[in-house]
């Protein structure tokens, strides 16, 4: 319920990390949002008319927040929109993440704006009594991740630009602790590294996939991936799938 198209207003839209990472707050408010779900944003003035899918980073009674990386015309135009501007927001779409049935140690592996999927996830997992590590990789420096720390999450940062004592990739942290469940969101190479990691159980490693989308409801069959159970729509059956399901990663 509550999956609809509505006009929302930008409350805040600021640079959050380098290069070109942004954090966006809009008035949305209606309807529950579960961790893993995403919204489509139609960006006025962009050549694209399809909503740009973005994971809902934070949701309360009045606002939805998103984290995004400028990587094309749509996100570029979005970054230029000042507070007070209006845009259409569709959703929420997608399934809630699959959860571990019991407490254990969980790694959330994020590459850049992939962190956008994980604040709601971290909150839920902490409530379930899991120990949660956020393995957060950024091209340069991470933003202030105090929201995660306050939930009791251990933040383990990585930077491709290199920082003394930090690894280059967040996946480097997968070697020194044993994780019972792993969730990963970010660029394809990161998903591949996590999905093929020899220390991880592929049925307990969930990858949040990104495919070009149109309907976001599972009906147009435009965003399907091959799995051991046949074609699955990333928008409606996902976005998260066990790495062991994916036949072409």
């Amino acid at each position: 319920m509550g999956c609809e198209s509505r006009v929302v207003e930008i409350v805040d839209n600021r640079r959050w990390f380098e290069p070109a990472g942004y954090r966006l707050t809009v008035t949305a408010g209606r309807g529950e949002v579960a961790a893993g779900q995403f919204a489509g944003l139609t960006i006025p003035g962009a050549p694209s008319r399809l909503g740009r899918p973005l994971a809902v980073y934070e949701a309360d009674d009045q606002h939805w927040q998103f984290v995004y990386q400028v990587c094309g015309a749509g996100t570029g135009a979005l970054a230029a929109m000042p507070p007070g501007s209006r845009l259409e927001c569709h959703g929420p779409f997608g399934r809630e993440l699959p959860w571990p049935g019991r407490p254990g140690r969980v790694a959330l592996v994020a590459g850049g704006a992939g962190i956008g999927a994980f604040l709601l996830a971290a909150r839920h997992l902490r409530r379930q009594g899991c120990a949660v590590d956020l393995l957060a990789g950024f091209a340069e420096l991470p933003p202030d991740l105090d929201e995660f720390v306050r939930l009791g999450v251990e933040v383990r940062p990585a930077s491709e630009a290199g920082r003394p004592g930090w690894p280059v990739y967040p996946t480097d942290y997968l070697d020194d602790r044993t994780y019972d469940w792993v969730y990963a969101c970010g660029p394809r190479p990161l998903l591949r590294a996590v999905g093929h990691h020899p220390r991880l159980d592929k049925q307990r490693t969930y990858l949040l996939l990104d495919e070009n989308m149109a309907c976001c409801l599972g009906t147009c069959r435009g965003c399907v991936v091959d799995t051991v159970h046949g074609k699955r729509a990333v928008c409606a059956d996902g976005p998260a799938f066990p790495a062991g399901w994916l036949t072409s990663l």
């Binding site: 008319r49 399809l50 599972g218 009906t219 435009g222």
Partner: protein, 305 residues
Amino acid sequence: MDCLGLDLCGLPLANPLIAASGCFGFGLEQAAIGQAGGWGGIVSKAVTAEPRTGNRGRRLWETPSGLMNSIGLENPGVERFIAEIWPRMRQELSSRLIVNVSGSGEDEYCRVVDRLAAVDADMIEVNISCPNVRAGGMAFGLDPDTAGGLVSRLRGLTGQRLMVKLSPNAADIVAVALACQQAGADCLSLVNTFQGLAIDVASRRPVFDNLFAGLSGPAIKPLALRAVYLVSRAVAVPVVGMGGIQSAGDVVEFILAGATAVQIGTANFYRLGLAGQIAAGLEAFCREQGLGNLQELRGGLAVAG
């Protein structure tokens, strides 16, 4: 009061808005979120004799004001459609229901249409215009003789209303339209997608594994309007126009060009609950223009000379 109601070859429609094939699935996901209302009719995704998994590789690519797709008729096949999907469509959707049929050869089209005798569809749409399959599909819609041959075989098989969906990729779409009318089509729908090519510069490869894919959306509207204008002047059967419609104004343009009703595809991906909004826009238009019924405008394009 009822300014939008109409009759489409004997089938009463509450309004001229029909959800286009492939852009509304079977309507069930939309019904589940309360966003399936407002349509005069809904056309199903293409149904083939056997289940199909569709095309490999990328399936969607957005272009300025357009969308390219290469889905490749992924569908559960006619038997599962009849057993599992159709009963739910009838129960959960309140619009007129049209089943879109495709196949890789004449025999497959015939098998599907024959099996559809088992359901009480309001109409069958014969898709002779899918550009995204290697065999069949659009191949039937390019040539008047092939199209006419298929339609007359189907006409002999079923008493259900047949709407034939034409391809804008035909060299002479009017000739194909006339052949389908001659063969017994009750009405014609047009246009399906235009075949196009998308290139990925970084890899120097085509974006789609099938090389070409179908272009839809606002980018094709002027081309579609021209086709609807030409065909509706040439045939006596009703024409259902489509291609890039996203507003009430767009619908009026197609009706002025000669369409009796319209289908809306890609714009469903731009907004949930689109039909209700467009219908409200059309009602307001009729009030402002003092029209008793929108059909008064059909074919009313004032052409100089």
